[in-house]
């Protein structure tokens, strides 16, 4: 770097270097590994358990617990963006004249010494041969430029000059998709919503902070279905949702994994499910002395009188995991028996062990004889106004890569020399800004076609 340069100029030169690009890419590649090895977004306890207190402090200071959003990682991305922009401006200002020249200048000397040069003779005089080949060249390559030189007549044609812009499209696409990601992070959200069958909500909870976010409409889960293969693996999760706007039902829609609901900029995805408390169930209450059983259908929160009016039984709720002396017995109904003149007590009725309550050896035993399994659906709710920029970036990246690597700026030069006996010596050579081997093959092919004129 020149010491006499002004500071802004020095900064510009620093960012205009491809060496910087390589260093930044190496740094991004190497540091990205860290986040795949160290637990991301875990709880403080998990870090202490996994890495001990010392390393946990280091992880916190360097924000490795959320590495891809750490200031230093984002700084690397920002530097890469500046690097891309500066490099592109710098190079484009230099190559602009090459891509959009006022007039194409032909320099046959740069072709006649090329390795891919092909030579052949035509049994025509120079004028005839040139006219015939010019027509072919114009058809196969593009507009032909004729030039008379000291060595003889030269024909020049080219195509694909615009493909030199491809690389700038690729680089712009990187900026575009990072901009899209930024827009998404600033103006979008990722949240979750848990809805029991039959219930509705217009408030979702942000994924990281758990902060409530109000939607412009309410969602009701009408039903949830899960189907299994005969192997026991889940086949399909499906929620039937109704969107409610201003108290009015707008429309209903099924959502499945891979088939989200998109409405008013909000996307709702099927992400998980679980069992919810059934709204009602049939309870069989047996008098343990008389062995007489009566059955009642009870709604959640409702209660019935026990036989002979000796008290009441209430269906209090439903828990997904019932812990019995350190064993998880799974889902269980919870009821409360209130005998007259006695303190009431809770009973748990695990669905997997229907006769469980008999072990209590009370005056009454309760058994759940039938209920309809109820589910809750776990929905992922997102809003991402940046996603279209990201998708546009994706499209430009593919197109740009294709143009940059597979289409090239090719120029061909044909030279004519007067040979013996009215024959003409012709040479053909070609240049390309990419893929010299492919160009050699193309020159060979064109030469065979031209020979046959």
């Amino acid at each position: 770097m020149d010491k006499n340069e002004t500071i802004p100029k020095q900064i510009w030169t620093f960012f205009a270097s491809v060496r910087l690009t390589v260093y930044l890419l190496v740094l991004l590649a190497v540091t990205s590994i860290i986040g795949t090895v160290v637990l991301q977004n875990g709880s403080p306890q998990e870090y202490i358990r996994l890495y001990g207190p010392g390393l946990t402090n280091l992880i916190k200071v360097l924000q490795i617990n959320d590495m891809y959003h750490a200031w230093w990682f984002l700084l690397l991305l920002l530097l890469l963006c500046i690097n891309i922009v500066v490099c592109s401006v710098e190079r484009l200002s230099k190559t602009w004249k090459i891509i959009f020249p006022d007039k194409i200048t032909v320099n046959p000397g740069r072709f006649s010494s090329l390795k891919n040069k092909e030579q052949f003779t035509l049994s025509k005089d120079v004028g005839e041969a040139a006219a015939a080949l010019e027509a072919v060249l114009a058809k196969k390559i593009g507009p032909v430029i004729r030039k008379q030189t000291d060595q003889g007549l030269v024909l020049y044609a080219e195509k694909g000059r615009w493909t030199r812009l491809g690389v700038y499209v690729v680089h712009a696409s990187v900026i575009l998709l990072l901009a899209g990601a930024l827009i998404g992070a600033l103006f979008g959200f990722k949240a979750s919503l848990r809805l029991d069958e039959g219930s509705a909500s217009d408030t979702v909870f942000a994924a990281k902070t758990r902060a409530p976010i109000k939607l412009p409409f309410s969602v009701r889960c009408n039903s949830f279905e899960v189907r299994f293969y005969d192997t026991g693996a889940p086949e399909e999760f499906k929620s039937n949702l109704t969107v409610i706007e201003d108290g009015q039902e707008s429309f209903s829609s099924d959502i499945l994994v891979n088939h989200p609901l998109r409405y008013r900029g909000i996307n709702i995805f099927q992400s998980s499910y679980g069992t919810a408390s059934p709204g009602k169930a049939v309870f069989a209450i047996t008098d343990t002395q008389t062995k007489q059983t009566v059955s009642h259908t009870i709604k959640k929160g409702g209660s019935v009188s026990l036989p002979d009016d000796r008290g009441t039984f209430e269906f209090e709720g439903f828990i997904p995991h019932f812990d019995f002396r350190g064993h998880n017995l799974g889902e269980a109904f919870v009821g409360r028996i209130s005998l007259k003149d006695q303190e009431s007590f809770q009973v748990a009725l695990p669905t997997k062990f229907p006769t469980f309550d008999r072990m209590r050896k009370g005056n009454f035993s309760v058994e759940v004889t039938s209920f309809k399994q109820a589910y809750y659906t776990g929905l992922q709710v997102t809003k991402d106004p940046g996603v279209w920029y990201v998708y546009a970036g994706f499209l430009f990246m593919i197109l740009g890569c294709w143009v940059t690597f597979f289409i090239s700026h090719q120029s061909y030069c044909l030279g004519f020399e007067k040979g013996q006996g009215g024959q003409t010596l012709v040479w053909l050579a070609g240049k390309s800004n990419r893929n010299p081997h492919g160009m050699t093959l193309k020159v060979k092919k064109l030469a065979t076609q031209l020979k046959e004129i």
């Binding site: 890419l25 795949t36 693996a233 995805f269 996603v387 994706f394 593919i398 890569c401």
Partner: protein, 278 residues
Amino acid sequence: MTSSLLLSAATFIYALASVFYIGSFSFRKPVLARMGFWVIMIGVLANTGGILLRWVESYQMGYGHAPFSNMYESLVFFSWTIAVLYLFVEFKYKESIIGVFVAPLIFLAIAYASFDPSINSKISPLIPALKSNWLIAHVITCFLGYAGFALAFGFSFMYFIKPRDPNATSLFAKLPDWDVIDDLTYQMIVFGFLFLTIGIITGSVWANSAWGKYWSWDPKETWSLITWFVYAIFLHLRLMRGWHGRNLAIVSIVGFVAVLFTYFGVNYLLSGLHSYGG
């Protein structure tokens, strides 16, 4: 005829092709390498038949999905993509000796699928997340990318064994000219890079329709991005900094190590959204 029978046949045919190429190289008999080309062609036919039959069988079992859903199926397809790309390259460049660096890779991929007892070859139903039209586009593009990198990796070894002296008469002097080797590796990496790019993008669009996030820094995603960075570095070093020869070959080998880690390492060592395979 079952798919597993055809795929085992393909495994042995690829093994035979490797023997032909290695034999051709060791005994300096070019005719063996030219035969190797046709042996790989037959292997590809068996491999293709196996994949198609497996597809049909999954429909007969009532699961009905493309055979790209687990480690076994992806390895079989990986073999197929390397083999097809190699046939194209040999046809285009008319250099049959380079098969010695590729045929063993084709064989190893499919042999690993069959012989590693921890890899389940049963046709199993698709989990809900994989039920998408993006599955086929994502898998095909990713594996075309991997195949390009695998070939580039094989070709990179030529930089280390070809003698510098143009008059050398050793076994390795028969390798293609330097500019052909250089062009071959570059073309394979460019091909791989384009398809890896499309593979990552299709995966990302798919993730957005399945989970509502086009990028979630899942280990598989991150490692595919790391791989992409390594090959982006390769391209910048070559095109902008004028790197050539062995130094660049090392970058290509590092890139393929990243590919292997993205493919296998993430599945076995790290956990995440892709833990079901492929």
